[in-house]
């Protein structure tokens, strides 16, 4: 078991002939994922890494029945790409693209929500379920192994760092979800933690947060009330100066709110073990799961 994606996941890649789209389609296929179609307007009829390309999402849906879509379209056109997938009835949309104007995301967020579509991202590495050899994203597949830990994170490489440590510790992963580093994202920590709590294959949950916003605090509150499984957290950005954007558009301490310390305090108050450094997450999870 896992959350969101499994062996039955059929992937459509929007922007499949672009540099990133093509590169990662190949890696997803090599990992074992079923990429069934690609979409690039003007390139319908072509074949990329053995995958048929269509002009429109609607055509790709009709011909190849994808269960999920991934977006590699450049920032200026990415919101339109997500909207096209929502309109074509895709239920799970993963938007990798970084640098989309926030005011483009807000309407897309509402549109996806009212259509009952799960949007992951934008500005995220995607998700992976190692036990079913399926990834819908850009993370390096080889560091993941199947196992009992569910992981949710706002970051990319920081997540890989933690996953490597978990794997080195003998703790495999049920599903890892990168929810994205933008201020407005489709799926938040609580959504994922709730799914992990309900997933029989997940025994422990890792939450990797960072400065900016209050999603970590709200998640801590949720964990306190509704989560029985052990949770280990890491929060990046204790050393970050205020009012400076730390790479991710959403990673900013603004007007004294969104600090790492406030998030760490909230997690601790909810009984969550908080790691001092990324790899320490694995040691703490090991303690929780194996006593």
């Amino acid at each position: 078991m896992s959350i969101l994606i499994d062996f039955g996941t059929r992937i459509m890649v929007q922007g499949i002939t672009g540099r990133q789209g093509s590169f990662h389609t190949n890696l997803m296929l090599e990992y074992g994922a079923k990429v069934v179609s690609g979409v690039v307007p003007g390139r319908g009829g072509q074949v990329e890494h053995g995958v048929p390309v269509f002009h429109t999402v609607a055509e790709a849906v009709a011909e190849t029945e994808p269960t999920c879509g991934i977006v590699f379209v450049p920032a200026f056109a990415a919101a339109d790409a997500v909207a096209e997938q929502v309109d074509a009835g895709i239920d799970l949309i993963v938007c990798i693209t970084e640098g989309i104007p926030v005011l483009d995301i807000i309407p897309i967020y509402s549109r996806a929500r009212s259509a009952g579509v799960r949007l992951i991202g934008p500005n995220c590495p995607g998700l992976i379920t190692p036990g079913d050899a399926v990834k819908v994203g850009i993370m390096p597949g080889q560091i993941h192994v199947p196992g009992p830990v569910g992981l949710v994170s706002r970051s990319g490489t920081l997540t890989y760092e933690v996953v490597q440590a978990l794997t080195d510790e003998g703790l495999g992963q049920s599903t890892c979800v990168g929810i994205g580093g933008d201020p407005v994202i489709g799926t938040n920590f609580i959504d994922c933690v709730r799914m992990f709590e309900d997933d029989p294959a997940t025994e422990g949950i890792v939450v990797i947060g960072e400065i900016g916003g209050s999603d970590e605090e709200e998640c801590a509150n949720f964990i306190d009330r509704e989560v029985g499984k052990p949770v280990v957290a890491f929060v990046a950005g204790r050393a970050a100066p205020p009012e400076k954007r730390m790479g991710h558009a959403g990673a900013i301490v603004s007007g004294g709110s969104g600090t790492a310390q406030a998030k760490i305090d909230a997690f601790r108050a909810a009984g969550v073990s908080v790691a001092e450094f990324p790899a320490d997450v694995a040691r703490l999870m090991n303690e929780q799961l194996r006593g």
Binding site: I211, G212, G213, A236, P241, K244, R245
Partner: protein, 377 residues
């Protein structure tokens, strides 16, 4: 991207928000001439990309052109929170009966353009949020349709305005929200929005921040970028697709990925060191990108050592190693390097570094300890 008050004021005026007449001066003589032209008392205000001007002596009332000249002389050249004042705005002074705070932000929590107002005008909204959060009246707007008139009116009445004032407030609030959407702003703020003794509403300050991700589709706004907002290396980084923030320590940092870069700073501090910068070299960084990043880091004279922390996923360790080796042989000054390299093509990367006499760690914490020991030795 931040812009000056005078730039924001012009944008507000173009959006139909009432603002007092004003002009920019760069010399005391210009301030005097502008004041003489207006022929009424003026306010001389420092134009800097930071708050706290009033407390720093950057805002002065002048009753006549001579006072405007001397006020400008006092203000021009002073330093406010690290920004040197080289322009002042000379604005017609307004009589004030009431001051209101009015702002519109793109809000991550409500996922709306959120109108915020408070009767505590002139106070920073963050301050009100801390001391008296109930005083902040909020109304979320859908960016597609803007703020509804009934929402604006409800806020106006709660502020205690009378009906003729509420009608003006309705117009101003809706125009402010519309301006945020039209400009891809993340914030537009009028603090204070005043009511004159005659009952006229007027924006006597203006603040706008543009969403960095939205600037590309507003060439007119991109031209408003002020060079003092970023240092030379910060500009080089932005233009090279690298995220860089200068900090105050001596350990230069190069990392792939923003989250990992933040975590590295934390781990350095945890071990008693002080990072000199945040730097995310970007996903899929190649040798050229690495060399550019290295030059940006070394432009800071405080840097005594560079710590490279790469988790190769999409980024290939051999590309990074090639870049590091190329950079060390070409750079203007040489500092000790501590490298931590794991992931895709790790063996090849480590071999390239070893051939160049650079040793690398596999563990992030060990690399940090070595770097901290390297600068304090």
């Amino acid at each position: 991207m931040k812009i000056h008050e005078y730039q924001a004021r012009d944008l507000f005026a173009a959006a139909g928000i009432p603002v007092p007449a004003a002009q920019v001066a760069t010399t005391p003589a210009e301030a005097k001439a502008i004041s003489a032209e207006f022929g009424v008392p003026v306010v001389v205000k420092a134009q800097v990309l930071t708050g706290g001007r009033g407390k720093a002596g950057g805002v002065k009332l002048a009753a006549n052109p001579d006072e405007a000249e001397s006020s400008a002389r006092d203000i021009l050249g002073i330093d406010i929170r690290g920004f040197k004042v080289d322009k002042v705005l000379v604005a017609v002074a307004s009589d004030i009966a009431t001051e209101i705070y009015l702002g519109a932000i793109v809000d991550r929590q409500t996922k709306s353009v959120l109108l915020m107002a408070s009767a505590e005008g002139g106070v920073e909204i963050e301050e009100t949020a801390r001391t008296n959060p109930e005083a902040i009246i909020k109304a979320p707007a859908d960016p597609a349709t803007g703020l509804a008139s009934h929402q604006a009116r409800a806020v106006g009445f709660r502020l205690g305005l009378d009906w003729p004032q509420v009608r003006q407030f309705d117009s101003i609030a809706r125009k402010l929200v519309r301006a945020v959407v039209d400009m891809d702003a993340s914030l537009a703020e009028i603090n204070p929005l005043i009511v004159t003794p005659e009952g006229e509403l007027r924006a006597i300050d203006a603040k706008v921040t543009i969403d960095d991700s939205g600037v590309f589709r507003h060439p007119d706004l991109a031209e408003l970028r002020n060079p003092e907002e970023e240092t030379g290396p910060e500009r080089d980084a932005r233009e090279g697709g690298i995220s860089y923030v200068k900090l105050s320590g001596n350990i230069g940092c190069m990392v792939n990925g923003a989250g990992l870069a933040m975590a590295l700073l934390d781990v350095i501090q945890l071990h008693g060191g002080e990072p000199a910068n945040f730097l995310d070299v970007g996903g899929g960084a190649d040798a050229d990108q690495v060399r550019t990043a290295m030059e940006i880091i070394l432009a800071d004279p405080a840097v005594e050592l560079v710590l490279v922390n790469i988790f190769g996923g999409i980024t290939r360790c051999d590309d990074v190693a090639t870049g590091v080796v190329a950079a060390t042989s070409q750079l203007s000054r040489s500092v000790p390097l501590v490298v931590r390299l794991v992931g895709t093509n790790e063996e090849e990367g480590l071999r390239i570094l070893k051939d160049a006499g650079i040793s690398a760690h596999r563990n992030m914490v060990e690399a940090v300890k070595a770097a901290v020991a390297g600068v304090s030795a």
